[in-house]
Subunit: 213 residues, 2 copies
């Protein structure tokens, strides 16, 4: 069955971005450090068209997260940043260049209607103005039995969690304290979760949860 899931790096104190986020520093102060464990991995670098990289205990975790993905949903800020990019000429096509790392249809939640945007490598951005549930329905249809992954940001993750629509998620808990910034697990209410597994890896602990039955 097609699941809705997400996997995200989070600081020990629960932030997915540090304070003082800006267009130059979208992850905020210290936020880059959340992703150090993954950008070093061969599995991640391959997905992004890069050579080299490490293989370690995190490798099968990342491979699993990236496999069986049929569609992606993401927030407008994840796709487009501030108001600037949307009014640019030529129009803004996302942060990722001509060949984005999704290689699936990507449903972007927005209030601004726009024609679908076909990129190289199998990524097509489809702009959905009707809200999170219609976006999920369209994504599930596009995924044709494979899973739908939430690409971020925290706000979109929170909306799907609060609505009880997430089946499974994995937190990559990184040993840093950001102290301030964008918290992941806020505004979601007291939803029930069950621990699926925990894996110790170099510089990160992967903990997977599913929605409680």
């Amino acid at each position: 069955m097609s699941k809705l899931r997400f996997h995200i790096s989070v600081s020990l104190d629960g932030y997915v971005a540090g304070p003082d986020q800006s267009e130059e520093n979208p992850l905020g102060v210290g936020g880059e450090d959340l992703h150090q464990w993954v950008v070093e991995l061969e599995a991640w670098r391959q997905q992004h068209g890069l050579d080299g990289g490490e293989v370690n205990v995190s490798t099968p975790v990342v491979e699993e997260a990236l496999s069986n993905v049929g569609a992606t949903v993401m927030g407008r800020n994840m796709f487009g940043g501030g108001p600037g990019p949307w009014s640019d000429d030529p129009p803004w096509n996302g942060w990722w260049g001509d060949n984005p790392p999704f290689h699936t249809p990507v449903f972007v939640l927005t209030h601004h209607p726009r024609e679908p945007l076909e990129m190289e490598g199998g990524t097509t951005f489809i702009f959905v103005t009707e809200g999170i549930e219609p976006a999920l329905e369209q994504a599930k249809r596009a995924a044709a039995g494979q899973d739908v992954v939430i690409g971020g940001g925290a706000n979109v993750v929170q909306q799907y969690l609060a609505a009880g629509l997430v089946d499974e998620f994995e937190l990559h808990v990184v040993p840093i304290l950001l102290s301030d910034g964008e918290r992941l697990l806020a505004n979601v209410g007291r939803i029930g979760v069950e621990q699926v597994r925990a894996i110790e890896a170099p510089g990160v602990t992967h903990v997977k949860y599913r929605a409680a039955k």
Copy 2:
């Protein structure tokens, strides 16, 4: 060398107590669920003078946390709750009955001077009015080379973390979302930590950290 350390159960969203804490419900709404994994363990029950209990992957984690402890420091609320208990006649002797589960000298941070209080089973409560550093010095002297453990609450843990005095800590991450209440890792600044280990256990993940060098 004598370390300052703590180990504490924390919800997936970072709380050590739920919302609406009161004298009848000191852990707040849902807060009791944080401790379900441990109160079922034989290792915990023995320390509290109770029979029976389970042995599982959490057992050596709890045994390690309870071993080599020479002294405890704790906050006034952890010892005494609201203003009520302090003005009781006979005087309030803590939440734990005649034989508290510490079995060490316990240094209680308070603004109210009081004579030391000797209980059964090796626990003596010593009331310190000079602040966290003098309390730690006294505790280290009493511990005579063994470790000093912070007994709680979150506010005292935060003060010692922010002051850079904590050598090591273990979080028992429980798969519940409390959504509101008392957050553990707030107000501590951007202190550096390193991951020591992570252990998956039934209904909890144990992750140990040490202060970065």
